[in-house]
Symmetry: C2
Subunit: 506 residues, 2 copies
C-alpha cells in the first residue's frame, strides 16, 4: 500500500502504536467510539463478529472441559456485598496477624468494588429500598446461588461459566477493548470437594488458555501475581500478560484459586460421602474483550489489521477481475465461493464496482487473511491468484483449491505465531542489576520502558518495592516457567529458580 | 407417569395453568427464581440452551435476509430522550389536530419510558452530571448513531439487529419469560430510502415470524394493533399474539412501520441519486424470551415440558438398559450416540445408576422429544426402542437409525403443530353480539374469559371502547387475515371484511 493512500485513510504508522491503535479500530470498522458515553463503544458488525468468534473458541473449550453455561442477572443488591466485604476484611486481618508486616502491601481495592461500580438507586419515579449495582464480576450473585444448589458431594464439581456484559466506572483514560466501562466478559466459576479438585481446575485453566493463545497466534507471560496484586478473596491469582507493540503488558486473562475462603464467607458447603459437612474449594477464570484488543495490537501492521484465521470474520475475500469482459468470471467466482463455504470457510465475494486497488486496501485494512483473484486469463488457465495478508502471492489450480486454502491459512497462523514470538523474545531483556550504595539503591544500567526485564528474584515485598521504585515498572509475579537452574536473586543474591518480570502494565 | 410421582415432583395438572407454569419452569430447571431481585431469574444451563437455540433460529433468519448484528451499550444518557419525547408530543398534536377527537385514545405510556426505567445517577462515589438509564429498547441510542452512519442512498437499506439484555421496571406481577425485569431481547432496526422500502421490510418481517412460528410449532394471531395501542412514534404496529392454555393471549413479537417519523426527530436523512436530501423510512422488529415462555406454555402437558425438536436442548436421550448384564450394551449406546451426534443431532447418554423409571420421569419433565432404549435383547435383535414424548413407542433396526430419528422428529413437530392449531381454533368463538337498549349496551350472550372472540368490526374507537367495557376483554386489532366476504360489523352493522379479536391479554 502506497504511503499516501495510507495517510489518506488516516492510519498512522504502527511504530506510533498509541496513535495507530485507536485509529485502526475505527477505520477497520470494529467499533464506533462516537456513542455519547465515554468508554462505551458501539460494536459494529465486523468487530462483533470477531468477538463472537473468540467467544466461540472459548465455548468450545468450555464444552470440552464440561463447564455449563449460565446467565445471571446484571443487577446485584447492595446487601449481598456484605459477605464479600467481611471476607476481604477477614483475609486482611489474617495476613496482618500471620505475616511480617513488612511483607504486606494491601491495596485500596481490597475494600471491594464499591468505588468502581455504577449504582441503580432509582427505578421509574421511586427510590429503591435496597440500592443495586451493575455487576463488575459475579462472585457475589453466583455464590449466593451456589449455596442453594450444592447439597452433597454428588453435586460437585460444579463447573459454570457465562459470557455477559459487566461494568466498571473507569476513571482512567479509556481505550477500545483494553479499558472500557461496559465490558464484554467471560467468567468461569467452579466449586470442588477439596483443594486437590481446585488445584486440578487451575491446571485445566492453564491448558485452556494455552489452547486459546495458540488459536489467537500469540504467546503470553503467565505469572502468579505477587501477594499485593492478588484478587481480593483469592488464595493466589494467575495472570496472563500479552506484550503489546509499545512494550506495555496487557493482562488478557486471570484465573484464581480461592481455596475455601469464599466458600466460608458464603456458607457454600456440602455433605461428603461420610456424612460430614465440608466447605467447597473454588476457582474462577476471567477473560474479556481485551483478547480482541490483543489480536488487533499484536498482529496488525502499517496497512491495517491482520486477523488470525480462526477468528477472522472473513477468511477469504474473492475478487472477480475484469468480469465485464468475460461473463464466465462472475459465475465461476461464486461457484468457488460456494465450494469454500460448504467446506466451512468464511468467505465473501467483493463485487463492488470500484477500482481493484481500492478493494485491496479495504480488505488489507480489515485484515482478511487471504485475497483470491480470478479473471479471464485465470479462468482460461483454470487457476487463480492468492495473496496472503502476511505477504506473498501464489498461483494455484482451481481444482483442489479448498485444501490449498486450508494449507495457506495454516501457514498464515504459523507466520503470525513466529512474528509475535519473535516480538516477545526481542522485547524481554535481562535486568541490568541494582546495587546498594551510600545514597541508596542504584540501577546498574539504563531502563527502557518499552522493554520487559527478566530476572531471578527471591526477595521480600519490600525488595520488590525497591525495584519497582527504581525502574518505574511493575512486577508481573512468579513466571509459570521458572529457571531450570538456580541463579542469584537480583536483590538478595540468594540462589533461586524463581523467574520474574518487571514491565509497564496497561 | 403415575399420578403420585407427578405430585411428588410438585407438578400441578396443566388444567391449573397458572400453577403449572411457574412450577414447571423451575422443576424442569430452566431458571431459578430465588435470585434476590424479583423478576430477575437466573438462567440455568437447560433454559439458557433452549433460549440460545431460539436465538440461533432468529440469527439464521437475520442472515438469510441480510441483517447485520450490532451490539449497543446498555446505558443511555437521559438527554438523548429529548428527541424521542419531542417526536411523541408532535405526533400526539398532529393526531389531535387532524382526527376526530372521539377516535383518539392517547395512552399515558406515550410520554416515554421514563416511568418504567432503571436509573443510574451515581457511579462510584460520584453523582453523574447526566443521569443515564438502562435501555428498555434501543430506538434512541441506535438512531443517534444511524444519523452518523447514513449519508447517501448507497448506505441504504441499513438492516441491523442485536440480541441483548433490556430492562423494565415492571410493577405488575412478574412471571418467568413472560413478564420480567431483565429481558433477553431481540430487536431489528432498519432504515430505507422511502416508504416502499419500509413496506417491503414489513412484509419480510411477516415472513420471518411465520418461519419462526413454524419451527416453534405453534400458530399465532397477527394483528395491526388499534391506534391507541400503537407503539409510540410508530405509524402502525403489527403484533403477534399466541394463545396460551389459560385463554390469555401473549404478545411474543411486534413489528412497527415508522414511516419517516422517527427519522425526522433524529435528523436521519440521506442524499438521493439526484442530490436531494431525503428522510429515511424505518421499521423495527422486536421479540424476547417470551418466545420460550410460549414454547413452555403451549406444548407442555401434565408430565412436564415438550420441546419442539428445533429448539430442544437435547433431542434424543439414550438409555442403556441392563448394561450390567451385558458389557456390549454401553459401547453400542455410545456408538449410536456418536453416530447421531455426527449427523448434527443433540443427544445425551444417561448412564446414571438410578432406576429406569426415575430416568424416564426426568426426561419427560424436561421435554426431550425422543427417548431411545437399548438393552441386551435389543442388541441381539439389532434394534432399539424409541419413545416419543408426544406419545407412542416404536421398535426400529439400529441400521439406518439416523433417518428414522429425523423422521420421528418431523412427526413430533407435526403433532405439536396439530395440537396447538386445534387448541387455537377450539378457543376462538364467534362473538355473541351486542345490542343497544334503553339502559345501554347489553351483550347478547355470556362471555368466558378463557375464550378469544372473533367478529367483523368496523367501528370507531368509541365503539371499541364499548365492546371492551362490556366484555372486560381487549381488542387485538385488525387481523392480518381479513374475511374473504364482507359481514356486518358487530356494533355498526356496516358490511366489512375486517376481522377482529377480543381477548384477555397478558
Amino acid at each position: 500500500m502506497a504511503k499516501h493512500d495510507r495517510a489518506k485513510r488516516g492510519i498512522p504508522p504502527k511504530t506510533e502504536f498509541n496513535a495507530w491503535y485507536p485509529a485502526i479500530v475505527e477505520i477497520a470498522d470494529l467499533v464506533d467510539k462516537r456513542y455519547p458515553i465515554k468508554g462505551m463503544d458501539v460494536w459494529k458488525p465486523y468487530g462483533w463478529k470477531a468477538m463472537t468468534l473468540i467467544d466461540g473458541l472459548t465455548r468450545a473449550e468450555m464444552e470440552r472441559t464440561d463447564h455449563e453455561e449460565y446467565n445471571f442477572p446484571v443487577l446485584i443488591p447492595e446487601d449481598l456485598l456484605e459477605k464479600e466485604n467481611r471476607l476481604v476484611s477477614r483475609l486482611k486481618l489474617a495476613r496482618e496477624q500471620g505475616v511480617d508486616p513488612a511483607e504486606l502491601r494491601i491495596d485500596e481495592e481490597e475494600s471491594g468494588f464499591k468505588k468502581e461500580v455504577y449504582w441503580v438507586k432509582h427505578a421509574g419515579e421511586n427510590e429503591l429500598d435496597v440500592p443495586m449495582f451493575l455487576r463488575p464480576t459475579s462472585e457475589t450473585p453466583m455464590y449466593t446461588m451456589f449455596a442453594l444448589w450444592v447439597r452433597s458431594h454428588g453435586d460437585l464439581p460444579l463447573k459454570t461459566f457465562q459470557i455477559v456484559n459487566t461494568f466498571r466506572y473507569e476513571t482512567k483514560q479509556t481505550r477500545s477493548f483494553i479499558r472500557v466501562r461496559e465490558i464484554h466478559f467471560f467468567e468461569a466459576h467452579t466449586a470442588h470437594e477439596n483443594q486437590a479438585g481446585a488445584d486440578a481446575q487451575i491446571d485445566e485453566d492453564a491448558e485452556i488458555i494455552q489452547n486459546l493463545l495458540h488459536d489467537l497466534c500469540f504467546p503470553a507471560i503467565i505469572s502468579r501475581r505477587p501477594v499485593w496484586d492478588t484478587f481480593p478473596g483469592a488464595w493466589y491469582s494467575m495472570a496472563v500478560d500479552v506484550l503489546m507493540p509499545n512494550g506495555r503488558t496487557l493482562q488478557v486473562a486471570t484465573y484464581h484459586h480461592y481455596k475455601d475462603q469464599w466458600a466460608k464467607a458464603f456458607e457454600l458447603n456440602y455433605e461428603d460421602s461420610t456424612g460430614k459437612t465440608q466447605f467447597c474449594h473454588q476457582t474462577t477464570f476471567g477473560m474479556s474483550e481485551r483478547l480482541l484488543g490483543a489480536v488487533v495490537g499484536m498482529h496488525g501492521d502499517d496497512a491495517g489489521l491482520i486477523f488470525p484465521p480462526k477468528v477472522a470474520p472473513i477468511q477469504v475475500v474473492l475478487m472477480p477481475v475484469a468480469a465485464h469482459v468475460d461473463e464466465n468470471v462472475l459465475p465461476k467466482v461464486h461457484a468457488v465461493a460456494k465450494e469454500l463455504q460448504t467446506a466451512g470457510l468464511r468467505v465473501k465475494v467483493d463485487e463492488r464496482d470500484i477500482r481493484p486497488g481500492a478493494k485491496h486496501y479495504d480488505w488489507e485494512i480489515k485484515g482478511v487473511p487471504i485475497r483470491l483473484e480470478l479473471g479471464p486469463r485465470d479462468l482460461a488457465a483454470d487457476k487463480c491468484v492468492l495473496s496472503l495478508r502476511t505477504g506473498g502471492k501464489e498461483e494455484h489450480p482451481l481444482n483442489g483449491l479448498q485444501e490449498v486454502i486450508v494449507d495457506c491459512l495454516g501457514r498464515i497462523e504459523n507466520e503470525l505465531r513466529a512474528r509475535s514470538t519473535d516480538h516477545l523474545s526481542e522485547r524481554i531483556h535481562p535486568f541490568p542489576g541494582i546495587s546498594e550504595s551510600k545514597s541508596g539503591w542504584v540501577l546498574d544500567g539504563p531502563i527502557d520502558d518499552g522493554i520487559v526485564y527478566e530476572m531471578a528474584f527471591d526477595g521480600k515485598d519490600s525488595d520488590a518495592e525497591v525495584l519497582e521504585k527504581a525502574t518505574g515498572l511493575a512486577f508481573l509475579g512468579d513466571c509459570s516457567e521458572p529457571y531450570e537452574e538456580a541463579r542469584p536473586c537480583a536483590v538478595t543474591g540468594r540462589m533461586t529458580t524463581r523467574r520474574q518480570h518487571l514491565a509497564r502494565m496497561y
